[in-house]
Structure formats: C-alpha cells, structure tokens
Amino acid sequence: MITTEEIQLAKHCISHATASGATAARVSLNKSVTDACTIMNGELDKVSHSADRSIYIYLFVDGRYGTFSTNRLEEKELEEFISKAVEMVRMLGEDRCRRLPDQDRTEKNASSGRELGLFDDAYYSIEAEERYRNALRLSIYEKIVQNKEFSLISEECEYSCTADDMFLADSNGLECRHSETAFGTFSEMTIKDNEGNKYSGYWWQTSPVANEIDFEECGRKALERAVSQIGPKKRRSGRYRMVVDTTVASRLVTPLLTALNASSIQQKMSFLDNSLGMQVFPEGLTLMDLARTPGKNGSRLFDTEGVATKDTAIIENGVVKQYFVNTYLSEKMGIPPTVEDISRPCIRPYLKEIALQDKEKEVSLEDILKASRNGIFVTGFNGGNCNPVTGDFSFGIEGFAINEGKIGHPVREMLITGNIMELWNHLTAAGSDARASSRWQIPSLAFEEVTFSA
C-alpha cells in the first residue's frame, strides 16, 4: 500500500511546512483501494474499481491554525500548495490554544500498521474472477421459491474488498501507521405481497478477515427481513415498552456520544454539560471504549491527532467517566485531554428485573423480549432527529408488536417521541448480542414508558 517513497514525501511536507514558516505541522497520508462486484437478479450488474490517495496537512503558524488537503502528490506541486497554505493561515485569527499533542500522549507502537491484526494479506490474492464468484455466492435469486405469500421483485447483492492504509506524522516526531482490510457483503430484497404492497429487507456483513464472511447468510436474512414485514397493522398511540434490535440500537447511542464531545460542551450545544463524574444514567448502564481489541472492526491504536487510545469506561454504572477532549479543547476549556472521539463503543449486558450476579452472563434478545412482555420491537428507524441542546428527540420507527414476550405482527408508520436522557433513564435491559462484525458493539436494548404516536 503506502510506499517508502510516499512516507518520505509525507515527511518532506512537514519539513517544507516548517521551512515555510509553520511553527508545527501534522500530515496524514491516506491510501484506499476498493473493488466491488454487484449482482442484480442473479446476473452481473456492476463492477467498480477505486483507488484513492490523498494527503491532509494541519498547519500551526504563530498561534494560528488551518487544515488543507490535496490528491495532487507531485513534490513540486505539493511544495507550492503548502507555501500557499502557510500564507493563508497567517491571515486567520490568533488562537494560542492550537498546538500539537504532547509527545507523552501519542502512540509509540504503531510502526507497521499491522499491530492490531486488521490487515488480511488474502486481500492481495482475491482477483476479479473470485470477486465475481463471491458476489454470485451471495445471490439466492434462483433458489427463491415463489409462494402464495409474496413474489420477488428484485434482488441486489454486492461483494467488496477494501484495503486502507494511513501514515500519520508530525513535527514533534510522531510517526504512526494504521492498515486494515475490509471484506463486505450486502444484499437487498424487494418483494410484493398479493395485494401489490412492496416491502424491502437488507442484510450485510463486514470483516477485516476474508474467510470470516458467511456467504449463505446474507441473502437469506435479507429475504427474511422483507417477508416478515408483510401485513403490517396499525397500533394505537400510547406508552409502551420498547425493545430495540442490535442492528439499529446505535441510533440511540449517537446523541450521547455527540453530547459527551468537548466541542459540543464548549459551544454550549450539549445536554451532558457538567455531567462528568455525575450519576446521570441508571446504574445498569456501562458504556466502554474498547479501542485496542485485536482483529475487531473499529479498533485503532491512535486517534486523528496520534494520541494513544486505551480501553476505558465512558459511562460506568451510570456515572459519566470521560468526555472526548482533544488537545485544542483541553487548552481552551482548561480540562485534561483524552482522545478526540470514541473508537469502538461497547455496552455491557444488563437486565433490570434480574440482577446479574455473574458479570459474564449472556443476555439474549429472547431474554429481553421475555422480560419486556408486551410492547414494540423496533427493527428500523425511519428519519427523525435529536436536539443536541435539549436532548428532545422524535424518530420514525418500524418493527413488530411484542405479545407476551413473543414477536407478533409488523407495525409501521409509528413515531417515538421524548427526551433522550429520560429515555436512557428508563433503560431496562441491554443484551450481549451485538454483532461481531459491527464496529459499534451496541446490543439489543429495552426501555419502558416510551411514547409512541401512530
């Protein structure tokens, strides 16, 4: 991927920036190659090849700061680009809080980029013909038996292979590298019931390892998800227990992570301001950042500043343990720096009704549904938003009724409305069923007293 010459070029950018007047500089060189093959109704529909190479340059000039990027990597052109960039930064306002991270905070053991075992060399041996064969393996078009319940309108599936390589260096001597591969499958089915109503379902998998892909599962799950939606019924507005499937549960975590970011707090755009060290969530909620787990999607040894990540609690037993504070905001707000953002969030299992004495106990979706008894099982969000300042949210949802702990008929055209902090304070369960292939290890979740409109 990234060659020795390209690394030298990146380092040259730093030298040229400081020689042009920059007080400090950071450079990120990124390369990415993706090949994808798409099958439509059992036949080849699209092949694509993409190869990207770009350089990002972060300049600190006399207390001023700017960011620049280009994919024109000829040395002379880059030098002119950087010289112009330094001149531009000089025109900006002074902000002395802008600086590189201290050396004692940066990662020292990411020299090869392979330390986390996220790069599978099998990537190099998968040629176009094999990609095509793998994409065809995803297709179940010929195997789908048309029945009385539905007819298939279309099947689209894709197999893709990606290799990413990133080299990060700064004028304080930082040199870090991160390399990873991603092998992905995707399948989407559109079906029609006897009354002409259409339904779609999709499924996907991503893994850094080529042979971890389950080619049989993708189409089958996509079809199951489409068929399961046939015959939706309206449900009355009201307050129900809500179980959120692991495949979409991250939607409810995102507002929390945004609110925990120092940039939101500093700009008074966070409903979690002044919550550090406070018990603002129920005791059952523990949210970890498991950034350094080898071989897992989302793991990384350093953030975008080169600061070393660590496995740590963000929310522990309901107490906020950490904000995400980069070097600039640490200086600006006068608080200790951490990392710029989360790498691999993970929520620990929890069941409100049954105290989990054994911390290693598994909590399945079935356990959660059983404990929730009656309510609505949410399997998809359809639009909506969460106000970053107040936490007030309103989301469209789709899913199924829960009747006596069992999944019942599909529901559609419903909305949930409330405040995200109140919602999390009504958490009754968190499973241990997060998909291994997901970067975000957010399991199925259950909440009580959720307002549904229909």
Binding site: H49, M88, G93, E94, R98, S394, F395
Partner: protein, 472 residues
C-alpha cells in the same frame, strides 16, 4: 465562460486521446462509455468564539470512466490524467462487457443547449481569506446585536469551484465551471436555565459577489426569527391530523414523499411504490410538481448534468398525473425516452445515477391565510432539518424544527422538534389545497442517496388532510 482549451490544458488531454480512451473502454464490447474529468478547489473559514481561528483549502482532481453494456455498469477512475493511468482505468471499466451477449440497447445522442445559469462576476479562486474576514466578523456582530440572549455564534463560510470536462462514445464533448458558495450561522440562546439553538444557511451557485450586506442582513435576521416561540414551544399531542406545510422549506415533503420514488433507477428495477403508475392520477387535479435544473444560481441547477445532458425543467406531475420519472442515460434508454438531465454524481469517484435538482410544487390559487383558516384542528410546520423515505413501501418522514398548533383556524401554541411520518401515494392523494405563494428555499440542502449531491426544494403553502405527527 472558459474555452475548451482551458479544460483540455487543465486536464492535459487532447481530442485524440479522448477518442483513444473511449475506444479502449469499449474494446470488450460495451454499448456506451463516458469520461468525466473533474477538478475542484474547496475553501472554508470558521468563526468561533469571536475569532476566525481555522480555515483551509482542498484540491481534488481526477477522471471517472464508465462503460455501459445494456444497463450493466463498469466503473473505474484515476486521480491523475497521465495517459497510462487513464488507459488502465478504461480497461478496468471495460471488463463489464467481457463475455456478455448483445444487450440490444442503443444509447443515443442528446440535443445540446447553450445556457449559463450561474455566471460568476467574482471568481472565488481569485479571492484570499482576508477578503472574507470582515464579512464574518460583521455578521457575528450583527447577530449578537439582534438578541441579548445569544451566548454563542458559529459561522462557516465555504466555497468551491469545479471544472468539468465530459466526453463520450457518441463524440459529445461538453465542459463547464460550477461555482458554489455557502454561509451557515449556528446560534445558541440562553434564557434562564433553558438553552435553544438555531441554524440558518444560504447556498448558491454563484461567485464571491454573494458575500455582501444583503446576505448579511438576511442571515442575521433569520438567525433570531422565531426564537421567542422556540423557548415557549411545546410538544403537541401525537397522532394523525391535518398538516399545513408552510411555503418554502416544506418542499422536503416533495423530495421525500415523491422525488426519490420518481427517480427512474428505482422504477426501472420495479422497486419504487410508483413503478407501475406512470400516466395515472396520483394527486388532485391542478397539482404540478417539477424537478428543475434551470433555476438561475440555484444550488441544484446545472448547465449540464454529470453525463453531459443539458439541464432542463422536468414536470414529474402535471395536473395531478404522473407524467415523467427522473432519468439518467441508462433509464432513458431502458424506457425509450430522452434523458431528463438528472444523471448526477458526488464527484469523479462515483458513477452517475438519477438524482433530484430543485424540486418544487408550482403555485396553486388558494390564499395561504385561508388555508390555515380552513383547518379546525391541526398543525402548521415551517422549519425542517432532515428527511428519509423507504422507496418500496413509500413511507417517508421529515423532521420539523418549528411550527404551530392550529386551533379553530388560527395559529396558536408554537411546537418544535417533532418528526412527521406518512406514506407517499396517500399523502399526495390527501392534498386538499395549494397556496399561491411558491417559495424556493436556498438553504444548504444535501441529498444522501448513495452519494451526496447539492439540491434544493420549494413549495407553496399546502394543506394535507392526514399525516402522523410525533408527540406526547
């Protein structure tokens, strides 16, 4: 407008080389191929805490090569225009046709149209950062002066200028330069222990002449508009009700409820809820819905789309009847119609697909005040953020930042932060009245179907008899 030589010099290609590339791309039996050269320079400034303390510029350059065999697509790109690398990309894209039987599909030339929808008086590329610093500081000052409850103001100014050269196997050669300027102000207010925020943006395909006192006054005024109501706003009782869509940004309804479902790729594949409804009455008579690539200086407009097809005004619905989908070259050939200039892409790394431009409903004849007065109980909505749609099912949503309850024909309590959900065909059939006050919203609308492209939307005041509103 720049000359052809400007573009061939910029991309370091000759007509002979363009022909060699298309010949290479079609060598394995493709029906059609096109080359899309693109060079974009981006620039941005950020004012925060009273200081323009960060900014930068960015350069993106490359060529995308697409080969079609019937409706099948081969796509590859190169980030430089060295002939060796472009030939390599052409060969990679050509693979889609290898070993494929004849598709029977013919891709035809389109009629060229000379238009200049966004002439630049002042080229962004000729400006330095210091030219915009006074504007940013003055805008911040003007916003702070409007309301003593303001505690934070963040202002972003960004611009881009994109040079495009397109050539295809039909020997069509087109080229143009596309400017875009955007200003966004985010304002945080505090009143007692309550905090509220508001974001305002303006975006146009125009030159740096847009930065001036008129824009400053418009953004500053809009930034504080309705803030008293925001502090007082309530969550309405949820459920199905009459919804009056205010003129302007309510066009998000059209974008989500029908625009996506009218994009011809979804219909060609049978996936859209409107797949079998061409020629049918889908709205009440008198309703006209347009997707327009020809609105001067509009964010969604294009002299050409990204397949070299001239921008045009396309009626999707005329007098309530679905009369056209939004076509790229693939779907147009499949349906046997002319492409409508909707083949768009995020940049040279992506193949074009049918996308909206400026989507709006034309004015009707109802008085907006009378529309509100006709509603006994319902909701009026006028500020929005995001939306979404499920193409097959037709279920769409959009998020309302602010509005009012309607009680006995009058606007009463302000409401905020609610999601509204409906079903496309049903919502269109449920239109009861269309106002005479069409307004196009010039915010930084960006559509995210597979790729991000700038769009805009508009609407007159419209009454829909029943949508589901999120609430307590």
């Amino acid at each position: 407008m720049n000359t052809l030589q400007y573009y061939t010099d910029l991309f370091k290609v000759t007509r002979t080389q363009l022909e060699e590339l298309t010949a290479t791309a079609l060598a394995q039996g493709g029906d059609y191929c096109d080359l899309y050269f693109e060079h974009t320079s981006f620039f941005n400034l950020l004012l925060k805490d009273g200081v323009v303390s960060s900014g930068g510029f960015h350069t993106d350059y490359g060529v995308g090569i697409r080969v079609l065999k019937g409706e099948k697509t081969g796509y590859a790109y190169s980030e430089n225009t060295e002939m060796r690398d472009m030939l390599s990309a052409a060969k990679a894209a050509s693979a889609i046709a290898a070993g494929q039987a004849s598709s029977g599909r013919t891709y035809k030339s389109v009629k060229d149209k000379v238009q200049d929808l966004y002439p630049m008086q002042e080229n962004w590329r000729d400006k330095h950062a210091d030219a915009f610093l006074p504007f940013l500081k003055d805008l911040e000052k003007a916003i702070f002066a409007k309301d003593s409850r303001i505690v934070k103001v963040i202002i972003r100014l960004s611009d881009s200028v994109t040079d495009v050269l397109m050539y295809n196997s039909l020997s069509e050669l087109t080229y143009e330069t596309r400017p875009m300027g955007s200003v966004t102000a985010t304002v945080v207010f505090q009143q007692g222990d309550k905090t509220e925020n508001k974001s305002v943006s303006r975006s146009f395909r125009t030159g740096a002449e847009m930065i001036g006192p008129a824009l400053l006054d418009e953004i500053a005024g809009e930034a504080v508009k309705g803030i008293d109501e925001r502090f007082e706003a309530i969550r309405p009782k949820g459920g199905q009700m009459n919804v009056v869509m205010g003129a302007g940004a309510s066009g998000i309804l059209l974008h989500e409820a029908m625009g996506h479902a009218f994009e011809a790729d979804f219909n060609r594949k049978g996936q859209s809820i409107f797949s079998d409804r061409l020629g049918q009455q889908i709205c009440p008579k008198g309703v006209d819905v347009v997707d327009d690539g020809t609105v001067a200086y509009n964010r969604g407009s294009g002299n050409y789309d990204d397949e070299g097809v001239p921008g045009e005004k396309t009626y999707m619905v005329k007098d309530g009847v679905l009369c056209s989908y939004l076509h790229d070259r693939i779907s147009a050939a499949w349906y046997g119609v002319e492409p409508t200039g909707n083949g768009r892409r995020e940049n040279f790394r992506y193949n074009p697909i049918p996308r909206m431009r400026a989507t709006y409903m034309e004015s009707g004849d109802a008085d907006p005040g009378s529309i509100i007065a006709s509603v006994k109980n319902g909701i009026y909505v006028n500020e929005f953020s995001n939306g979404q749609v499920k193409i097959g099912e037709g279920d769409f949503t959009f998020f309302v930042k602010s509005g009012f309850l309607i009680e006995k024909g009058r606007l009463t309590a302000p409401v905020k932060d609610i999601n509204i959900i409906g079903n496309g065909p049903q919502a269109l059939a449920d239109i009861l009245a269309v106002g005479n006050d069409l307004r196009i919203d010039n915010g930084t609308w960006t559509c995210g179907k597979e790729q991000s492209v700038p769009v805009s939307c508009g609407m007159p005041t419209v009454l829909i008899s029943s949508l589901t509103v999120g609430g307590e």
